[in-house]
């Protein structure tokens, strides 16, 4: 009874904390100064049509680097926790996938990979980018895992691709420090004409690297969770 009372008290306190947010804050009608600068100067300085991408990759590039490190640490933690096999040695007999799933996935997997690559290479022009494209690549890998229950992804290969793309991300950041204004500054390449695929400096390259890295990390997490014999 006392527990239930304390829980209710906590919930009521939290709701009371939220009250000023709803009652007092009136909807803003103009941007604050930082956002104003990003929105007006972003297209001219960086040449990116999608300003969310400009904020993620260049203006707040260091944040994104930190988030990718957090993702990497979480993947490492999952691998660390699942490293020791339990007592059970023999894998449970697995049901093989059905004919419809196998045929359908053979048709869909190349299209999904193509779509993922499209999303992360066009991140500076259309909605989308490295994170979304990486997840679409992961969903292609997931379809492959579902249709071929026996097949395994090469663990070394995914880890090597992920590490190499992480190193390239840092190298591009340092190139920006040397050749342009600061760490992860994307302007050391030509800005080009807005709306073209090869424009906006190094933003498409950085976002493609992020996409490959995120995709490989998530494939690694799924593969570790899927293994039956561990």
């Amino acid at each position: 009874m006392a527990k239930r009372f304390i829980t209710l008290l906590l919930i009521a306190l939290l709701a009371y904390m939220f009250l000023p947010f709803i009652v007092e804050v009136d909807e803003t009608s103009q941007l604050n100064r930082v956002a104003e600068k990003y929105v007006t100067a972003g297209p001219l300085e960086l040449g990116a049509a999608n300003l969310v991408t400009a904020v993620i990759v260049t203006y707040r590039g260091l944040d994104t680097l930190g988030e990718i490190v957090v993702l990497f640490i979480a993947a490492v933690g999952i691998g660390f926790l699942l490293r020791k096999p339990s007592k059970k040695k023999i894998a449970a007999p697995k049901r093989s996938s059905s004919e419809i799933l196998r045929t359908g996935s053979d048709f869909l997997i190349p299209l999904l990979i193509l779509f993922g690559v499209y999303i992360f290479t066009h991140g500076h022009l259309t909605p989308g980018g490295g994170f979304q494209g990486g997840v679409v690549l992961t969903s292609a890998a997931l379809l492959f895992m579902l249709s071929n229950t026996e097949a395994r992804f090469n663990k070394q290969l995914t880890e090597v691709i992920e590490s190499v793309s992480g190193i390239f991300y840092l190298i591009i950041g340092i190139l920006g420090l040397i050749l342009a204004g600061g760490f992860l500054d994307s302007r050391f390449l030509q800005l080009g004409e807005m709306g073209r695929l090869f424009s906006a400096g190094a933003i498409p390259i950085i976002y493609s690297i992020i996409g490959i890295k995120v995709g490989m990390e998530l494939i690694g997490i799924l593969e570790k969770l899927r293994k039956e014999e561990i």
Binding site: N50, V52, T53, S86, K88, A92, I119, P127, G128, G129, F131, Q132, V135, V136, T138, S139, L142, L218, I221, L222, L225, R226, E228
Partner: protein, 81 residues
Amino acid sequence: MSLIIIIFLGIIMIAAAVLALYLKNLVAAIISAGVISLLASVLYLFLAAPDVAMTEAAIGSGLTTIVFLLAFNKIRSDRED
């Protein structure tokens, strides 16, 4: 018009959240939690954030549900022996 759609989606989301916490069947609860994310991705379109909508639809409702189901499958196969 959009206000009616938002309120309708919000009622479904709150119902799905309560169901996700109180359903006895864990698989049904996990799917119900995925429905919340899927409807949230529609709301992001009303908030003029298509990038976030794409991410939420792919990750929140797709991969998170799959990760929950894979972990639940691991627990169930442990329980059987």
